[in-house]
């Protein structure tokens, strides 16, 4: 049976959790080592659908600085992080740009955009 070790990130306690699927109730999780309800919800998310907000930069021309900071408009499935970086690294845009501008629309058909996190130029 699959059991995942994880550390809860919600508070400084950093509870070490052992998370596995309940054999008798599919879809339910057995979580050991957790001390609060919020932690259990986190474990559920992190077990089934771990996501991360990815932040990086893209190359930009015609601006006083050569790189523009960007982020995913929503948290991205964790396993797509490296692929997303490949897409981000391909981009080269022209300034000026405003904070919030969409730099890559619908990244890899995820319905997530890459947006500028500052105005530049």
């Amino acid at each position: 049976m699959e059991e995942k070790e994880m550390i809860c990130i919600l508070c400084p306690l950093g509870c070490k959790m052992q998370v596995s699927k309940k054999e008798d109730q599919p879809g339910e999780l057995k979580v050991r080592g957790i001390q609060c309800k919020k932690g259990k919800d986190y474990a559920y998310e992190e077990f089934h659908n771990p996501t991360r907000t990815l932040t990086s930069t893209v190359a930009i021309r015609n601006t006083p600085l050569p790189r523009l900071p960007v982020k995913t408009s929503k948290p991205l499935p964790k396993e797509l992080v490296y692929k997303a970086m490949e897409e981000i690294n391909k981009v080269e845009i022209e300034g000026p740009v405003k904070m919030g501008a969409v730099i890559i629309k619908n990244l890899m058909d995820t319905d997530i955009d890459i947006v500028a996190t500052r105005s530049l130029g």
Partner: protein, 929 residues
């Protein structure tokens, strides 16, 4: 065909080159490194010895005495600093007093003027702070201090102006001779010359043996040193020596020409002329010995440690003679101490030898003694400063914030045939990176100026010698053209619009120093309270401070109730400033703040300007603790960064700092940088942490380290750094409960880069200048509930007061400072007085500090927030608040750790109405983690 080829461009080679350039000779100076003064000249005590020490009759004795006499004129001619501070050899027992008398006698024989044996009382009078056991000293008034590399550079500049040709990066590989003269092979070139002067320092034996049978052998002897921050120089009014022993002159203390304190050296024979690393044992030895001379030396102000090699021979004396085997080949070898002091006399001596060989040298008519001034911009008077900025506005732009060095000086250092071409070259000439941040802030900007002036790409800028590349490429594999380093953000008009009487200083209600999160929040808050004329002064090209390089998310959850990245958080505040029409000056460095609230700043547009403020908010933030400050021994190659500097390179400038990276310290910046490095395609070999737990937030451990499978080595430390030009690896060890390395657990790790993430230090140089009282625990000003410092009308907030974990708390604290300043201005105008009483806050047991340090109940809001940090990790502990003896509040905390700031809200209603002296906070232990 040259007349003379000099091999080696240290203090000896350059002294000889300049002296010979007075004559009609065609001269070439050949140097294996990229710059002059790169061997023994680069790392020594910088002392011009009086000359009582060498054995009478030796070359050392004669040339030291003569060299010392020549120093004053030479240094004034070249505009290089030289101060006759005098030296004291200190005796602690009767035996040592005997040694002093012997030295005195010897000094008299050597013709050293002014020597005096002084008794205990006078000794302690002229040099305070010596250990009580010091019973007497030999005083030598003619001893002095200089700046050896600046001297060497100035000599080289003069030599070049008088026709000497310089060849750098040129290693001599072979020498042959025939009737016509010598042929020197270096870098596949052949240089022909009639005479050779071997001034190759640590390699003098190698050069000699290219043509001559083995004679003298250079036995490199290493000396390690500590260098302490500026202003610590006052700990040594004189050059202070212990009594010499068979091993040498011993560990000395001296001020440098720039006001630092230098402590060292030890003396250790090493195998290689490249062994310039520092060692744990060596540094410990120096500290122990220095403390025998003076107790209470400020070792917490160490900014770096380094080591240099002395070119000793068994012969003992200097070897300065024409080779008996090869006529026309002059050896100038074995120049260890007092080589620096003797250098001007050695140059004359060698000229004499050459004169005899040639049979008369003819003097030039048009000798150029000096090429350019070496007086730092900041040492000039106001008139001279204004004039320079007028002529070239780049003198109005400060690049190095620790030493206040301008772009104009850096550009000037690059000019000319012996101009700097490397980062260390700039440091030797004008000292950016020589201050307490060790180049953390100015490094990237200095590199940009070098690249621009030499018309090369940034990754081609090197630290020192070929191969010492600082950057390893660009991010995204996309090229970057050099851009103008002018202001990036919008600079709002700053003129206060007040008409001034002739000569009056411009007056502001509020001047905010620092346009980071603290300064911006304070300015916005003051404006909301109705303060009219506000000026924000920011040293960088744009507002936002360090947030602009913190491109990760996790900011703003408390302040804006949503998760933002650093630049987004900054931009929200920048927009508020714009909306409120708050005036800012960018690219502007504040040089001083006075108790009377005068602020002096410099920039390219206004030059040097002083303005008057009714109130001031200090928001200068903090700097990173460097490798030097924590004394990690080893070599000093390229590839060592503080995490924040690396973050700036990667996130803002778009350059990669390495390929195989080790992060030392598990603070949040370190963890976040580990992830950034991996995402940009490089490898993070390990994160190393001395403590048994990760210091950063749990979330950063999980999402930056665990997510990417980066090994986290807890309870480990770095005990050695290896690599000559670029980092090649480190030695790590397990640590014990005191965080000290455990013998027998050492192992090697291969890497090309080390990022130091070892904590932050509030940046309080301006505060100190204004007479603001600092708290030793926080490193920042002591403040009251309105964030007002000990100086009336001067407020402080953010990381300059104490290092925060979240920017949200910085903003909130800074709002209080802004409101406090606004209310203060109003109170002054209305001449109202505060009622109530003042109590102190008092941290007990495991609480390391509390901010604010005192509270005036008359000015206090209904609810006050107290910020604090704890020592050690604690679980289920209670924080107990007492007003005097009366318990006023108890707060349960599930977990407390040093990395996390604790805040407690305290209601005015909970406090006694009657005056009490202190509100104490105590940690009542639950289960120990």
């Amino acid at each position: 065909m040259y007349d003379v080829a000099i091999i080696g461009a240290g203090i000896i080679g350059t002294s000889i080159a300049r002296e010979l350039s007075r004559y009609n000779l065609k001269i070439v100076l050949i140097e294996k490194d990229s710059d002059v003064a790169n061997g023994a000249t680069k790392a020594n005590s910088a002392i011009v010895h009086a000359g009582f020490d060498p054995e009478p009759g030796t070359l050392k004795a004669i040339l030291n005495a003569e060299g010392n006499r020549l120093y004053e004129n030479l240094c004034s001619e070249l505009d290089v600093p030289f101060h006759r501070t005098g030296s004291l050899v200190i005796a602690f027992c009767d035996d040592e007093m005997k040694t002093l008398h012997n030295l005195y006698k010897r000094g008299r024989e050597n013709g050293i003027p002014g020597l005096e044996i002084i008794a205990k009382e006078k000794l302690h009078q002229i040099e305070d702070g010596l250990n009580d056991e010091a019973i007497g000293a030999l005083y030598a008034p003619t001893a002095g201090i200089t700046d050896p590399y600046l001297l060497s550079i100035a000599l080289a500049e003069s030599a070049a102006a008088n026709g000497v040709k310089f060849l750098f990066d040129s290693t001599v590989s072979a020498i042959s001779n025939d009737d016509a003269g010598f042929a020197i092979s270096c870098n596949e070139k052949v240089i022909k010359t009639k005479y050779i002067i071997n001034a190759a320092g640590l390699y003098a034996d190698t050069i000699n043996e290219l043509l001559n049978p083995p004679g003298f052998k250079i036995k490199p002897t290493r000396g390690e040193y500590f260098l302490l921050d500026k202003k610590t120089g006052r700990y040594a009014k004189h050059v202070l020596f212990p009594c010499p022993t068979a091993l040498g002159k011993g560990v000395l203390l001296t001020a440098t020409c720039h006001g630092n304190l230098i402590i060292g050296p030890n003396a250790e024979k090493v195998d290689s002329p490249d062994a310039t690393e520092t060692t744990t044992a060596g540094l410990a030895y120096i500290r122990a010995n220095a403390e025998k001379l003076k107790k209470n030396l400020p070792f917490d102000e160490v900014i770096t440690s380094f080591s240099g090699l002395r070119a000793k021979t068994d012969h003992g004396d200097f070897i300065i003679e024409e080779s008996s085997h090869t006529p026309g080949f002059i050896n100038v070898a074995g120049i260890d101490s007092p080589g620096l002091a003797a250098a001007p006399a050695i140059a004359l001596h060698v000229t004499g030898i050459l004169d005899q060989i040639i049979g008369g040298l003819a003097k030039k008519q048009d000798f150029i003694p000096m090429v350019k001034s070496h007086t730092p911009f900041m040492y000039l008077d106001k008139e001279a400063k204004d004039k320079l900025i007028d002529e070239d506005p780049r003198f109005g732009r400060i690049i190095c914030r620790c030493e206040n060095i301008t772009e104009g000086e850096i550009v000037k250092a690059i000019e000319g045939p012996v101009g700097a071409r490397t980062v260390d070259g700039i440091k030797k000439r004008t000292r950016p990176g020589g201050g307490r941040c060790q180049g953390g802030f100015c490094g990237p900007r200095v590199m940009q100026i070098i690249a621009r002036e030499l018309e090369i790409n940034l990754p081609d800028v090197i630290k020192d010698n070929p191969g010492s590349h600082i950057l390893t490429g660009t991010t995204k594999d996309k090229t970057i053209e050099l851009r103008d380093s002018g202001p990036v953000g919008e600079c709002l008009p700053y003129n206060s619009g007040l008409t001034l009487e002739e000569g009056a200083k411009e007056l502001y209600d509020l001047v905010v120093i620092g346009g980071g999160p603290a300064g911006m929040a304070a300015a916005v808050a003051a404006r909301e309270q109705g303060t009219d004329s506000i000026l924000v002064i920011e040293r960088d090209h744009e507002l936002g401070g360090i947030l602009q390089q913190c491109i990760h998310n996790g900011f703003g959850l408390h302040q804006f109730k949503e998760e933002l990245t650093g630049p987004e958080y900054a931009e929200r505040y920048i927009d508020m400033l714009k909306e409120k029409g708050i005036r800012c000056k960018l690219d502007t460095m504040v040089l001083s703040v006075s108790r009377d609230r005068e602020v002096t700043f410099v920039n390219t547009a206004d030059g040097l300007t002083t303005i008057q403020a009714k109130a001031i908010v200090l928001g200068m933030g903090c700097r990173e603790r460097t490798r030097g400050a924590i004394n990690i021994p080893g070599t000093r190659p390229a590839g060592i960064f503080s995490a924040g500097t690396a973050q700036r390179f990667v996130n803002i400038e778009g350059y990669m700092v390495g390929k195989k990276v080790v992060v030392f310290g598990s603070g949040d910046i370190g963890l976040i940088m580990a992830r950034r490095i991996v995402l940009e395609g490089a490898e993070v070999v390990a994160v190393i942490e001395r403590k048994p737990y990760s210091e950063g937030l749990v979330r950063n451990y999980v999402q930056c380290v665990e997510d990417y499978g980066i090994p986290m080595l807890l309870q480990h430390t770095i005990v050695d750094i290896k690599g000559k030009n670029r980092v090649e690896g480190i030695t790590i060890a397990k640590t014990d409960s005191k965080k000290e390395p455990i013998p027998g657990t050492y192992r090697e790790l291969e890497c090309d880069t080390i990022l130091f993430s070892r904590g932050l230090i509030p940046e309080n140089e301006l505060s100190k200048g204004a007479g603001v009282v600092l708290d030793r625990a926080t490193g920042g000003p002591v403040v009251n509930e309105a964030m007002e410092t000990s100086v009336e009308g001067i407020f402080a907030c953010g990381n300059v007061v104490h290092v925060h974990d979240l920017v949200d708390w910085v903003s909130m604290e800074s709002w209080r400072a802004g409101i406090g300043a606004a209310k203060y201005i109003k109170r002054c105008e209305e001449k109202t007085k505060l009622g109530g009483f003042t109590f102190k806050t008092k941290p007990l047991n495991a609480i390391s500090y509390i901010v604010p340090h005192q509270v005036r109940t008359g000015a206090m809001d209904d609810i006050i927030e107290l910020y604090m940090r704890v020592r050690g990790q604690h679980k289920n502990a209670e924080l107990l608040l007492k007003a005097g003896d009366m318990e006023v509040k108890k707060v349960k905390k599930k977990v407390l750790s040093p990395g996390e700031m604790v805040s407690i809200k305290l209601s005015k209603a909970d406090l006694p109405v009657e005056p009490f002296e202190a509100l104490s906070i105590e940690l009542v232990e639950g289960e120990k983690a």
